[in-house]
Assembly symmetry: C2
């Protein structure tokens, strides 16, 4: 029914260009070690992204080292790209020392950014409009003479074009003439809107195609300040851009860059472009989450396509409909990008959600079972106390098994004590945490004590000491994330705290919850359920709740 | 330079329609009490949003009560709207009990949703296409007879229109004929793309304007599954829609609804439409953050327009440029929407950032001061240990004052001890937390002990007991947020924890940070700095770091 503007390329191939390692790293709160950068680069390589921008060698010492280390562990398929600016005003590129570390990085491709906006040339660079053109041309020619291939990023393109289209086009013509193979139109301030982006990309194409005389390779680089990064990149593609620059999870300065995790499926599944091989597309969700782990930022559960909630269904009627025909409430098949449908448990939960959840746990439960009502009641009572099972499905599965009389108890708690202190020790401080636990296993009462780096660690240690002889599998469990939130902020440190704890055995992950005014107690509840669930997993093999 | 499609209305007025209380509440992890709903409704009323959808009375008991309670505290300007579906198949609207609570809610306006997509009629409702038309017409006529005005939400509009445009248009014609005053085109699954939305809205306008014979009032309702909610709503407006439905902060099921906090400034500041009065527009950031507090979700720092990082500048060159001319790196003036520019402190921080930050703290510091280097070094050393000052500006100000010899010490810590236990007490459990602190104030050593609901509360109490006689202002301080994150997740509970603690005196808020492997110790550091900073604020009046 609905035809989108015919794309330029007959084979509908697009070149994806990832700049998570450079522009993404500008995000407030994100700091990457060299190891982090290497892990991310190899993950992107596996995903099938053909261009990966690694950083600006010379602008910081970490990036120099990164490019060196990458030579030891080269990428399989992708091109690693070094990023830098045009030479400084007033001296030839060959004499600008800034360009030396770029060449030393040893990449075939270099992305060079230059000014398109007269305002930036005059106020930012404090040079003349002509000298800016010379800087663009001279730097590209120099890099070409050194045998490099050049992608030209036209910074502030859209603002520059709107201010003075003739000058802005002159910068692109200079870059083209000097041998740049790609011209990338950047919305650096992120304020452009889709209709103008489509329009301007079209105008550039018309004007430069005549100029170039050969197929023109245009790219698009957008930011999200107006909430338009993904839309702007998409309409630029429909207007003729064939390279798309973005970052995983949309990381980037201020409000972020165009999110490749949303762009790739939109372009590939809805508009029929080819971005990455379909079998790699199924790794998209995994890539998004892995990279959020590497950069140590909580994943955005509500992210389009790859978020944990992206295919989550809450309302009761809705759930029965989606189970009958997924097309009715899902814009794409989640499996195509490696995500999956989820039925959410919450105080809006109807019976159909609980039944559907039970099925996903492999628990047989029918509407007729009178325990369904008990389960819903208990669920609502716990939620009123501050428990939240949406994010703690392992705890929910334990609760469900408990109400149905199917929960196995591996041990029985009989109490704990924790002591922490911090005292001066000469000029320094000495800290100390000690925990004692009492548990009953197979009729035997075990009392164990342990020290730890903190009270939760000491408790965890003491508990493991007590249990390990009975359950050796426990040696593989570890805590993979730990989040605390206060529930009623006006009550200060006396407020209720909710702890969400993610555990792992190296293969699977599962989340448990604890709530208490006492953070130690809340943590303890979550630790205990985490251990219990892990033991259950060992026995039953795989549970649906745990994510691979 | 760039003209966008001419809008339909000569006066460029648009009707904003907020559905945070209904569709927003579908977001996973969000649960609203009646008090929460009332606070949000009044906040939206103050913002100048003319339509506020309050809920579906009858679908849950909370919503019935909400509409009742709202009559006690009526809105000043906005219309409160009740939401419901068309009647059930096979019986007249007058006999469908589902509609009774809607009428009892007592609103002038009712938003009725109905099916546009043949697939949903047949597979979802399990009725005939004709009966669906009858359900739409009959329900609207019934509500009109009861004196209500009707907004018709055409659910799954875009999918329905693409599948069978003739039938989809027939549903709208029926609604129009029965007396609906607005026809709202909904992208319920959130998968539509801007070019097709613009196209289809235009087609509907052309076809129904002839039909209606009078000015046609079209609305748009979008979801963010394809990362297009804001863009789709915007292009629908440029194609002729004059009502925009969305939610504050884009809350909503799965990936959320169109974010009014991004849509309103885009439409009003960039395209010249009138959405809300300009003086109210300056309350947008405050509204976004207040509502995120009411719903108890951490604000998205990277949200377009209203996020804390939306106008944050990190890189060194960048910072000097933006200080010379904000236009160079900002797409709008942050003050127009009540946000402000921020200079970020991080390990990419150059000297210019530190100097700019000092200015914002009201500290005189010049490049020539040799302590600048010390400050940068200390900053980097602490960040390597896991401290993060981006989100803890109060701790950064204390650090800066310390390095410059301007930090006032109100008290000196000499140590603490904490004891927690949890023991069986009959059939229940008994928990107990006790803390002892030793501090030195004005040469006097004070030893105090206190109990609390948990170890951090006990410590906080003991510290306040020790200090309150010396600093009575402290009685007004409370903890307004408390966040914990582990820094190296593979180390389990022995990992380093970072605590971010937000304190308030009821007027201002400030954030401090603590890092340690021991969560109690990390919390303690942040509590102590929070108290210290609060005392400093009392003396100096207002500090820039604290947000109003």
């Amino acid at each position: 029914m609905y035809p989108v503007t015919t794309p330029v390329l007959p084979d509908r191939s697009l070149w994806m260009y990832d700049t998570t390692l450079r522009d993404g790293a500008q995000r407030e709160g994100l700091a990457l070690s060299i190891d982090d950068k290497l892990r991310i680069a190899h993950q992107l390589d596996e995903l099938g992204v053909p261009f990966i921008e690694g950083g600006w060698p010379g602008a910081n010492p970490k990036d120099v080292q990164f490019f060196w280390q990458l030579k030891e562990e080269p990428l399989q398929q992708a091109q690693m790209v070094a990023f830098c600016s045009t030479r400084r005003p007033g001296r030839p590129a060959a004499e600008d020392t800034m360009l030396q570390p770029i060449l030393s990085a040893g990449t075939e491709w270099i992305t060079l950014f230059g000014k398109s906006w007269d305002l930036h040339v005059i106020e930012g660079l404090k040079t003349s409009l002509d000298e800016n053109l010379a800087m663009i041309g001279d730097t590209i020619e120099f890099l070409r003479q050194q045998g490099r291939r050049v992608i030209y990023d036209a910074e502030h393109w859209f603002d520059g074009y709107k201010a003075d289209p003739t000058y802005a086009l002159a910068t692109l013509k200079t870059a083209l003439g000097a041998g740049a193979e790609w011209l990338v139109l950047c919305d650096t301030n992120g304020g452009a809107l889709p209709p103008e982006v489509a329009d301007i990309v079209g105008q550039v194409r018309t004007q430069l195609t005549q100029e170039a005389g050969s197929p023109l390779a245009l790219g698009i680089h957008t930011h999200n300040d107006g909430a338009m990064a993904v839309a702007n990149a998409l309409v630029a593609v429909t207007a003729g851009a064939t390279m798309v620059q973005g970052t995983i999870n949309g990381y980037g300065e201020r409000c972020g860059n165009a999110d490749l995790c949303a762009l790739i499926p939109n372009l590939q599944l809805k508009l029929g472009y080819h971005c990455i091989p379909p079998q790699q597309l199924t790794k998209l969700t995994e890539t998004s989450r892995l990279i959020s782990e590497v950069v140590n930022l909580a994943p955005n559960d509500h992210a389009p396509f790859v978020g944990r909630s992206a295919f989550a269904h809450k309302g009761g009627i809705h759930v029965s409909a989606v189970e009958r025909n997924p097309l009715t409430y899902e814009h794409i098949q989640p499996e195509l990008i490696g995500n999956h449908r989820r039925i959410v448990i919450s105080d809006q939960a109807g019976l159909s959600n609980v039944l559907s959840k039970a099925r996903s746990f492999g628990i047989e439960l029918t509407k007729q079972n009178p325990r369904c009502r008990d389960l819903l009641d208990q669920l609502k009572a716990l939620e009123r106390k501050g428990y939240q099972f949406e994010a703690a499905e392992a705890s929910f599965e334990l609760l469900m098994r408990q109400v149905l009389g199917q929960r196995q108890y591996y041990f029985e708690l009989q109490g704990f004590q924790v002591h922490c202190d911090r005292m001066p020790d000469g000029d320094d401080w000495r800290s100390h945490s000690l925990a004692t636990v009492k548990v009953k296993i197979n009729g035997q009462t075990i009392l164990e004590a342990a020290e730890g780096n903190g009270p939760v660690a000491a408790l965890d240690q003491a508990l493991r000491k007590a249990l390990l002889n009975f359950y050796p599998a426990m040696a593989r469990f570890y805590l993979s994330d730990y989040k605390v939130r206060i529930l009623d902020s006006t009550a200060g440190t006396a407020a209720k705290t909710r702890v969400l704890l993610e555990s792992s055995d190296g293969h699977q992950r599962w989340t448990t919850v604890g709530v208490s005014t006492n953070i130690i107690e809340a943590s303890y509840q979550a630790v205990v359920e985490g251990l219990e669930y892990g033991l259950m997993l060992q026995e039953t093999g795989t549970a649906q709740t745990a994510s691979p």
